[in-house]
C-alpha cells in the first residue's frame, strides 16, 4: 500500500508542480474559457432566459475544465507517454499502472481546480450570478463523486486510446463537442428529451451537472433530470464500473502490447 501511494505521489507531482510553476498557463486557462462562457451568458440575457441559466453556464464552464483535463490529461496521456518514451518505464516499474493513472488523476484534479476556482470567482463576479446552496455537504459529495467517475472514465479511455492506435489528439477532439452537447454543458439536459438524456447519463458530467445545478440554484429544480440522491447513486455506480473497465483495459493494453508488440514498438 505504501508503495502504491508513493507511486501515486510521484506521478501526481509533475502536474501539481506544473500548475504552480507556470502561472501564465493558469491565466490563459481561466481567461479563454471565460470568453466562450460569456457568449452563452449574453445569448441567454438577450433571450430573457431565467437568471439561473447564466449560473448553469458558469457551472458548465467549471465542470468542462475538468472534462478537458480528463480528455487531454488522462485519456490521451498514455499515448503522449508512449511518444516521449515514458510508457515503457511505467510498464517496467514495479508500481502498478493503476497507481500511475491515479497519480495523473489526482495531479490533474489539483491543477484543474486552480483553474476552476478562477472561472468560478471571475464568472460569478462578472455576471452577478446568485447562488444559494441548499445542502453543501451533498453538493460537495456529488462534486467529488462526479470527479471520481469522470477521471475513472479517463483512466478507461487511456488504454483504449492507445489500443485504437489513432493520433490521440484526433480521438480527444472527437470526444469534445459531442460531450459538450450530451452533458448539457450550457443548458438543462432534460431539454434533450427522456431517451437521449437518459442515454447521456452514462457520461458522469451529465449527472453531476444536473445534480449540482439543483443544489446551487434551487429554483431550477423544474429543469432537473432526476433527484440528486439518485444521481449520486448512479455516479457512484459509474465510478465503480469505469474503474473496473479501466483495470480490464489496462491489462488488455499491456497484453496486446506484449504479444503483438504494437504498443511500444513504433515501427509496427
Amino acid at each position: 500500500m505504501i508503495e502504491f501511494l508513493r507511486a501515486v505521489k510521484g506521478r501526481a507531482y509533475p502536474r501539481v508542480i506544473g500548475a504552480l510553476r507556470e502561472p501564465s498557463w493558469m491565466l490563459w486557462d481561466t481567461f479563454l474559457p471565460l470568453l466562450s462562457l460569456s457568449a452563452y451568458v449574453f445569448v441567454y440575457r438577450s433571450l430573457h432566459a431565467p437568471r439561473e441559466f447564466e449560473g448553469f453556464v458558469i457551472l458548465g464552464g467549471i465542470m468542462t475544465a475538468y472534462w478537458l483535463n480528463v480528455l487531454w490529461g488522462m485519456a490521451s496521456q498514455f499515448y503522449w507517454e508512449k511518444e516521449t518514451g515514458n510508457l515503457q518505464y511505467y510498464i517496467m516499474a514495479p508500481a502498478s499502472l493503476e497507481s500511475i493513472l491515479a497519480g495523473m488523476a489526482l495531479g490533474g484534479m489539483f491543477s484543474t481546480t486552480t483553474r476552476a476556482i478562477g472561472i468560478l470567482l471571475l464568472g460569478t463576479w462578472l455576471f452577478k450570478v446568485d447562488m444559494s446552496v441548499t445542502n453543501p455537504y451533498l453538493l460537495l459529495l456529488i462534486f467529488v463523486i462526479c470527479l471520481a467517475a469522470m477521471y475513472a472514465m479517463g483512466m478507461m479511455f487511456s488504454s483504449l486510446f492507445l489500443l485504437w492506435g489513432r493520433e490521440a489528439w484526433v480521438t480527444s477532439s472527437l470526444f469534445e463537442e459531442p460531450i459538450y452537447f450530451l452533458s448539457g454543458q450550457n443548458f438543462p439536459v432534460k431539454a434533450l428529451g427522456p431517451y437521449l438524456s437518459m442515454a447521456a447519463s452514462i457520461i458522469p458530467l451529465t449527472l453531476g451537472l444536473d445534480a449540482m445545478r439543483q443544489l446551487i440554484f434551487p429554483s431550477s429544480i423544474k429543469f432537473a433530470l432526476m433527484d440528486p440522491y439518485l444521481e449520486l447513486l448512479f455516479l457512484s455506480i459509474l465510478t465503480i464500473v469505469y474503474l473496473f473497465l479501466a483495470k480490464v483495459f489496462l491489462r488488455k493494453m499491456e497484453n496486446i502490447g506484449k504479444t503483438k508488440g504494437t504498443i511500444l514498438t513504433r515501427w509496427l
Binding site: 510521484g10 507531482y13 509533475p14 506544473g18 515503457q88 516499474a93
Partner: protein, 318 residues
C-alpha cells in the same frame, strides 16, 4: 543460476508488409557479475531482445529468464530487480528539474524519499552532474540528459541493468564518464550484472567480459573480445580513402581480399578491406589508380571486432 538465460528464443512481428523475424533461435547464458555485450548493427534484434528481457514484450517461441524468473509469467518478480537505459531517450518531464525527475521515477520503485535523495546526490557526484540537479530537464543538453537517464536507471540499485546503446550520439567525454561509471558500479558488488547493446566496437571491447555478435536476429558468434578477434587473426585490415567515388566491386576478385566495406565521404570513399596477404596491397593500389581514382590515405590496421563482424556477415556495424 544465471543472471540471464535465453533458450531457443524467437520473436516474430507481423507487419503490414509481411512478417519480420526479429529474433531467430537465440540462446544466451549470462553469469551473475558479468558485463555482457551484444554487438550488432541497427535492426539486428538487440532492442527486441532487451524488450523481452525487461518484460515489455513476450517471445513468440522459446523462453527467457532473468535471475531465474520467467519473463513471460513472473514479471512481478523481475521488475523490482531490473532497470534499463536507452540511447537517445527522452523520459521524464521537461518542466521538472533533474532532481525532481529522478525522485519521481524513484517513487515508482517504492524508494523512501530520504533514501532517494541520498542516492540522487551520490549518482550526481559519480556521473558528474551535480551542477545541473536544479536545472529544468527541457533546458538540458543531450549529454546532460543522458547522464540523468543513466542515474534514473541506477537509482533503483538493480541487480540486472540493461544498457541499450547508452552512449549513442554522445560526445566522447560524456560517453567516457558513463563507461567509467558502469565499470566502477560493477566492481562494487559481485552479483551486479550488465547487458550492454552497442554498435560501437571500441565500447564493447573496453567494457565487456564476453560479447555476442548479433545479425538479422541470430547470434553468429559469442566469446571474449580477444577470442573473437582470433577469428581474423590471420588477416589484417587495409583502410583507404579514395577520390573521386568509383565502383570498386571488382576488388573482391583480387587474390586474398576476403571482404570489403565502403562508406561514402565527401568527394570520395572510405574503404576497409580484410585481406590475408601483404603482397596483395600493391594489387589493390594499382587497380584503384588504373580505375582513375587517387588514394589520399592508406593504413594497415590490426583486426578489430568490426573486422570480425565484416568477415562473418559481409557488412559493417554502423
Amino acid at each position: 543460476m544465471y543472471a540471464i538465460e535465453v533458450r531457443n528464443l524467437w520473436r516474430i512481428f507481423k507487419t503490414r508488409d509481411g512478417v519480420v523475424e526479429a529474433l531467430r533461435d537465440v540462446n544466451l547464458k549470462i553469469k551473475k557479475g558479468e558485463l555482457f555485450g551484444l554487438l550488432g548493427p541497427n535492426g539486428a534484434g538487440k532492442t527486441t531482445l532487451i524488450r523481452i528481457l525487461t518484460t515489455l514484450l513476450l517471445p513468440t517461441k522459446g523462453e527467457a529468464y532473468v535471475w531465474g524468473y520467467s519473463t513471460a509469467t513472473e514479471e512481478r518478480k523481475i521488475r523490482p530487480i531490473i532497470n534499463m537505459v536507452s540511447g537517445g531517450e527522452y523520459s521524464g518531464y521537461g518542466l521538472l528539474t533533474v532532481k525532481e525527475n529522478l525522485w519521481m521515477f524513484s517513487q515508482f520503485y517504492g524508494i523512501p524519499g530520504k533514501v532517494a535523495k541520498r542516492r540522487i546526490e551520490y549518482l550526481a557526484r559519480r556521473l558528474k552532474f551535480e551542477d545541473i540537479l536544479n536545472k529544468k530537464v527541457r533546458n538540458l543538453s543531450t549529454g546532460q540528459r543522458q547522464k540523468m537517464n543513466v542515474a534514473r536507471a541506477f537509482l533503483t540499485d538493480p541487480k540486472v541493468i540493461f544498457l541499450d546503446e547508452p552512449t549513442l550520439g554522445l560526445d566522447v567525454e560524456v560517453a567516457r564518464v558513463i563507461r567509467d561509471f558502469v565499470k566502477e558500479w560493477l566492481l562494487e558488488n559481485d552479483e551486479r550484472t550488465v547487458l550492454l547493446t552497442t554498435r560501437y566496437m571500441h565500447e564493447a571491447e573496453e567494457l565487456c567480459d564476453r560479447i555476442a555478435i548479433i545479425n538479422e536476429g541470430r547470434i553468429i558468434a559469442l566469446d571474449t573480445s580477444d577470442n573473437l578477434k582470433k577469428l581474423v587473426s590471420r588477416e589484417f585490415s587495409l583502410v583507404l580513402r579514395i577520390h573521386p567515388k568509383i565502383n570498386i566491386s571488382w576488388i573482391n576478385k583480387i587474390e586474398r581480399v576476403q571482404k570489403y566495406l565502403t562508406r561514402e565521404e565527401e568527394n570520395g570513399l572510405r574503404v576497409r578491406i580484410i585481406m590475408s596477404r601483404e603482397e596483395s596491397i600493391a594489387d589493390v593500389v594499382d587497380r584503384i589508380i588504373k580505375h582513375g581514382a587517387k588514394i589520399s590515405y592508406l593504413k594497415k590496421e590490426e583486426p578489430t571486432l568490426e573486422d570480425v563482424f565484416l568477415k562473418l556477415t559481409g557488412r559493417g556495424l554502423e
